[in-house]
Symmetry: D2
Subunit: 344 residues, 4 copies
């Protein structure tokens, strides 16, 4: 599927390129020699900025989101312990079984109406603790933003965190789109991290080339991280270039500005479709994604000109995503196209 | 260990930054939207160039050298099968047990005088085939260039390949510095690949930011590759930026020019030390590395001003590496320093 | 939970001891020396009997049911491939994540009304084939008898097998209670195996001490089996004693006589409860298990005198199991107790 | 290789059958119903006897020696940690890579003259601690008796234990033939365990059918054991029959009497060969094994009538093992045969 020439893709935020500031930071970091594997000034500075912003203990750069999830979870599990997660989670559906393969750990999945776990849903997977025939639930994994574009409120996060602490569980947050959640909730990164033990902070979907950070919130969990990262094949030798990407994102909160803009474009898209017959917004629009149901011929007609994915064939649901570089004009043209195809 | 200001590092070829052409290619690839995960023009073109150059069947980009080795080997092994490799190999020593952890596979190590396997050395690990208590040797892993800076001649490679075919073994080549071998031997990449079933082709140590390629030489081995890469957390979403790095390296054989230069600088360094008393070159200089034995106070004095690693504390051996951007002046100053410290 | 003195346990068929014939066979096999690891006459004979009875290619003894499932499935999967199974399956619920840990493989679970998979249920997990982000379904795992005591008819088995062949899937059958299925269906072991690629045949729940067999139905799958068994820690050195257990079970079809009897005792129990108010049989009684719903105080009162498990606390469902050595008098006393407690 | 009729096998102690007392204990345990999975009186009693004899914290039964090693080591390792062991160890050579496969852990092997590790040999594998590219040594694994039939003295054991504590390492002892070591050293099981963190205690080679025990010496290591055992497919449902085997071995120290006898028979064999030209005893005879070098035609001639293994083809070394049921007459006939074949 090539992106239609001359038209902005609404396929995913990773269809976008890199933010020019990210490219500039990489270019700037390309200045002479540097010791590799993270023992350099760029990495030290970017790491310090991240740990400060999250009020965390350690930040570890990795190459992609699957690796961030696997590394983050690996800090929290012993061999007989398992992860409770939403059935629809990226971890369960879209990582080709990396958690099972690399960690040998089982996922205990829970169906959810909107991609979000609640204490009640988590509790439904807790029976069997202390039974030697059962894996022992130890990590609750959530995504903020979820795969369905929804956000946990700070109250929901804290309630879940409290529940985990009471039950002796860890909370891991897949933050591939954490920036969009912060933008939607109007809160700090530290607010989003307060309930978590480990979380990821995505760079790639928000303007980086290929960089994610794993943020470790508790000192006693941080020690093994560098070893696990190496073993999990995520230690970059020229790490200054990964650090530079995050340095650019942290500079004047570029991460936030990009996410705010992307969210605003999704809201504009949703607003533009209000009242259009036979286009039903499927989940609350709380980030940079709009899920909508519309009839299949209309989907097909639109996809001849515009780039986006069908999320559920059986329910005729499509996903439209915006990015840091989606313009108002892009959205308006797309809205017009959707409306126009309806008319025909 | 910071790199001493104003002095070229002789610590490793990954102390160097990226080649300006690589940065330019990344910048050029940052043009609008593109479908992710490799289904784009940049990836298609770079992949085609690599498979043509190697006369291979498939090229898969990954983020670092450990990942290239693990992915490459994973295409060749069943669970009860094992890898024969040199005791001194990067695979065995410097990858934090990634092969054992991610693949669950055992390494059968062989001591070698110069980092190179021979049919005889491989044969020493073959007894026990068909014995159900033993892992079954299946892959012979070599590095070209080896960890000790030495190269296999084409005759040696072909002899090893022939031996492997006769014995029902696969040959995997860790080519993190394959470019330096091609430069030293004056041969094509296809010549280096002819005996191999799978090999890696390093970009990072030769001017890329973070990109390696796994080259699959046999069609029947290629099918699982994309799945294994994803599962092993090496599928980049904005893959055009990985492809762009290799596109730059392939352009007018930048990979070869960089490696030829690096090799020439190592040769110049070795030549400059000829006749210097108490500095003994340890292995044949056949790439961009010079291993030398010298006395510990002299090592210590040099390391106060220059950046390089001690390879063996017990044998007083150091490793000096050159890169695509090491200059003749860098080498000459370093030679002078080594000679000077001797004089004092 | 000790078994109440003087009262037959209805807790599980593994509460029973070993069949006296099994003990006798072990005693008989204890005659002088023998080569270990299965290269002995006892193993050869028992293996031959099993492969003949199943019309299979290979039979491998292992120590328990979890090991049989893991070994059987390991013969069928590559690293990126997954197992479709019932959510309620022993494999998913009661093996402490052994498949994920030892094989690194993901289970794709399906909710079922009665523990049984159908082509339609399997088909619900097939979308995503060829998508590199998804594990690729490869094995359909069923249990015959299921965890809920139900049996697949031969028609259902063959339909499922046909579906698997059409879809390029393998069929693995967990036969921990295969004997009970054969007894219920009145068919041969070969009939039960006809649709399967690999299956297990349980000894332990049917009178053995600790022995299960993995039956491999296709020659091309058999070669790795002995190596995988050893690696999976299931190769017994004094294997004649495992073989002797199966030899006893195969002698005059002791396995069938024991299963027929156990099934008859479950049927007698179910029949004895017909018409008892407030005791609802939950699933069709098709083996040696009776699941029944009754009110919690009654459950509690019964459990003070009799040994059995509550299957679902929330639904007040208990499981009563019979064994090869349950007597008619045991059943009648238990029926009387159930009726009596109702009366009080 | 069948065992020659009418002649005692000197192939291995697992060529012997089970001790009649073991069979009797199994028969006695076959008395009515019992709760499974170790929650029974037989298991409680046997476990209590073992923990008392070792002054340990927990005893876990498993089915074979490979499983005992894997379970024992799994209690001691995190993912990036490794095992230092002798190159000749059963763990490294004869377990088909189970440690790498099931635990994902690397073995750091050390060549040894006699199968025994020393603090110096262990220290040779310690460089690289804290280096993120290297696996981190954490467990020192020794076998008592070693694969070469030699024993560590109590002084050697304690010295090694002391070294491990100083270096932050755990000590694991593979005790498949621990009974023979106790018999040779004239010490208690607790003496052998004093320096260890976890060890195994073999039953199978000393008269059991199929039972080994993993002894955990420190309380904080014991908690995960039952879960790991289940996940590693070693939890027997009718565990009373495993416990009964150890109950028989512990009764009046049957384990010691059997081992003393086997050792005495090996000593008699070695003594009987003293002065026989061209038969060279290879290692000190400190258990129930005699390794000897003799010329190949003589080996071939002997193997036509007697059962034993060639240990090293290249060095013409054979291994002769005795068992609890080897008689003086067996040894004397064998000695005569060896002498006779020399004469011819």
């Amino acid at each position: 599927m090539p992106v239609t020439t001359g038209r902005k893709s609404f396929g995913s935020d990773n269809h976008a390129g890199a933010h020019p500031e990210v490219i500039r930071a990489i270019t700037d970091a390309n200045a002479g020699d540097s010791v590799p594997y993270g023992d350099d000034e760029w990495t030290r500075r970017a790491t310090a900025e991240l740990t400060a912003a999250f009020r965390g203990r350690e930040a570890l750069f990795v190459f992609n989101g699957t690796a961030a999830n696997v590394l983050g979870i690996s800090l929290l599990l012993r061999p007989h312990e398992a992860v409770i997660c939403a059935e629809s989670s990226h971890l369960n559906v879209d990582e080709c079984g990396a958690t099972e393969r690399v960690l040998g750990s089982k996922l205990l999945t829970v169906p959810t109406p909107d991609g979000k776990l609640t204490p009640e849903l988590v509790a439904s997977r807790l029976p069997g603790r202390c039974d030697v025939h059962r894996v022992q639930p130890r990590v609750v994994q959530i995504a903020q933003v979820t795969e369905l574009g929804t956000c946990y409120s700070l109250e929901e996060l804290n309630e879940l965190g409290e529940f985990c602490r009471t039950e002796g569980l860890y909370l891991y947050v897949d933050g591939a789109r954490l920036a969009n959640a912060a933008a939607y909730l109007g809160c700090d990164l530290a607010d989003l991290a307060a309930a978590a033990d480990v979380l990821s902070f995505g760079g790639t979907k928000n303007g980086a080339l290929a960089a994610e950070a794993v943020i470790v919130m508790r000192r006693e969990l941080a020690g093994s991280g560098p070893f696990y990262r190496k073993q999990q094949m995520q230690l970059g030798s020229k790490m200054r270039f990964m650090a530079a990407q995050f340095a650019a994102l942290m500079e004047d909160k570029l991460w936030l500005r990009g996410a705010q803009h992307a969210n605003a474009m999704a809201a504009r898209l949703a607003a533009g479709l209000a009242g259009v017959p036979d286009v039903t917004i499927r989940y609350p629009v709380q980030s940079n994604a709009v899920f909508a149901a519309l009839n299949p011929p209309r989907i097909a007609a639109l996809q001849r000109e515009w780039t986006f994915y069908t999320w559920s064939e059986s329910e005729h649901v499509v996903r439209w995503m915006t990015a840091f570089d989606t313009t108002e004009a892009d959205v308006d043209s797309f809205v017009e196209a959707i409306r126009g195809i309806r008319a025909s």
